[in-house]
Symmetry: C2
């Protein structure tokens, strides 16, 4: 199954046969105080820099989220999308909890966007799926519903199936959905990552769709998060996640190593090139 995204003169295909597609997570005020304050003051200057740096580091899609406390996303999200598309050619994952902001950003977006996100909540499905259909976009679908985040892989799969049916009812095909099996924090629940892996296996086996994941939070509160993120990315990607949302500045070489392990990197050329580029940028 292939998910096609388009930026300006640049297409990205997400599929099990393609190299893992890194969605750069950095353009997001969550946990970034300085960026938050800048957005609240109407200063968007960091966005172009972050876009370029992430693409240089190996991101092939960029998530764009401007959801800080005192920000009018309906006004600012399209502006941020425009800045990113003026800077780099890669497709964008338009990220907001506000459907009006999503719509405003989709109006200015050039190409075939990814919408981040829908989930199994009835209200959210009703608000977001029509936008996906109307703008011919693809969408990230979180495996959670009106009762929150289920504890078991079976329950998360059931929500994914519901979302799949609701999407098909409005004309959005399975290949345009990236399910997120949800990675919770391991320091809170030591079974969290295994549930994510089981969910990913179930989705890959039962639905066959492509998948994303927000992998970074899993290691929160633990020492040597870099090692944990590498190991968890290996586990999630091996279970079928092929478009993780992560920080390309710190995780690209690990993702290339995982692709090499999966036989997706002939002669290891992408891994070796990434390594050399990283060495050059650090020297």
């Amino acid at each position: 199954m292939q998910t096609l995204l388009k930026g300006i003169n640049q297409e990205v295909i997400i599929s099990p046969e393609h190299p893992t597609a890194i969605i750069g997570e950095r353009i997001n005020p969550t946990g970034r105080k300085v960026f938050s304050a800048e957005l609240e003051a109407g200063d968007l200057s960091r966005i172009a820099r972050d876009a370029q740096a992430q693409v240089d580091a190996g991101a092939v899609i960029l998530d764009v989220n401007v959801g800080a406390a005192r920000v009018d996303e309906v006004q600012m999200l399209p502006e941020a999308v425009r800045i990113v598309q003026d800077t780099v050619d890669v497709p964008i994952s338009i990220d907001s909890s506000n459907p009006e902001a999503l719509k405003a950003a989709l109006k200015v977006y050039k190409g075939r966007a990814l919408i981040n996100s829908v989930n199994g909540e009835k209200e959210r499905l009703t608000q977001v799926l029509p936008l996906v259909a109307e703008y011919g976009a693809a969408v990230i679908a979180l495996c959670m519903g009106d009762d929150g985040i289920p504890e078991t892989a079976e329950q998360r799969l059931a929500i994914a199936q519901n979302i799949l049916e609701a999407a098909q009812a409005v004309g959005v095909p399975p290949e345009d959905i990236l399910f997120d099996p949800l990675a919770m924090t391991i320091s809170v629940n030591h079974r969290a990552a295994q549930v994510t892996i089981d969910t990913a296996h179930a989705i890959r086996g039962e639905l066959g769709t492509n998948m994303t994941i927000g992998a970074s939070n899993t290691s929160h509160g633990m020492p040597d998060r870099q090692l944990l993120n590498t190991v968890f990315l290996a586990g999630f990607i091996q279970a079928g996640v092929n478009a993780p949302i992560c920080n390309p500045l710190t995780n690209t070489l690990a993702v290339r190593a995982i692709d090499l392990m999966q036989g997706l990197d002939e002669w290891g050329m992408r891994y070796i090139q990434t390594y050399r580029k990283l060495q050059a940028s650090q020297s």
Copy 2:
């Protein structure tokens, strides 16, 4: 399925429900010029140091191999086993291509040893399996046969099935066999690790036995071998390998991270303890 090994006053159970059992690889002259020269000169002083260091770093089984060029293994292997058992309590993986040396070492070994190794070659099966039965040991079985190392997972599984039958014919049950799905060098064949993973999945699914692997060579010839070894260990262990042979001085924290990912480390206590110990030893 549980594989039970015994050292002096110390038992190790290998099973999918237990933490991954690290078999320390260091007591082996392959690729260690100084150690090779010492063994050839009859100097075994390094063995006790290497045994202690590996157990301190997290190994729960130690591989012992003295196969240097001008070494009489029949004489030296039992001596090395005695030194290791005088130093640490953990079980030993007695490692030699010489069946006479294996036998001599088994005679002096106290406990329930692991024999490294048998494979699908008729001669080797005939030589080694009777020793496994006679000494009530467990055995590592490499998934290769009279025609060398097969390229596909199906062929490697077929060899594993043959070995399993030959073992049962002499009274060695499946739980006393650790299959090695074989990790070849990725810089020579970029599909090598995926074949290993497919083989491990097939063995776990079809035979249900425990597994080992010599993981370190996979990254040979590639940059950032530490990262690759971490990623490959994650892939192999997730596919069912639960007693990898590796260097505990550099890989234990990664293995604990993988166990944490697999939900095998309540509250992440083993991971955090390993991290703290590593910090303390480096400061």
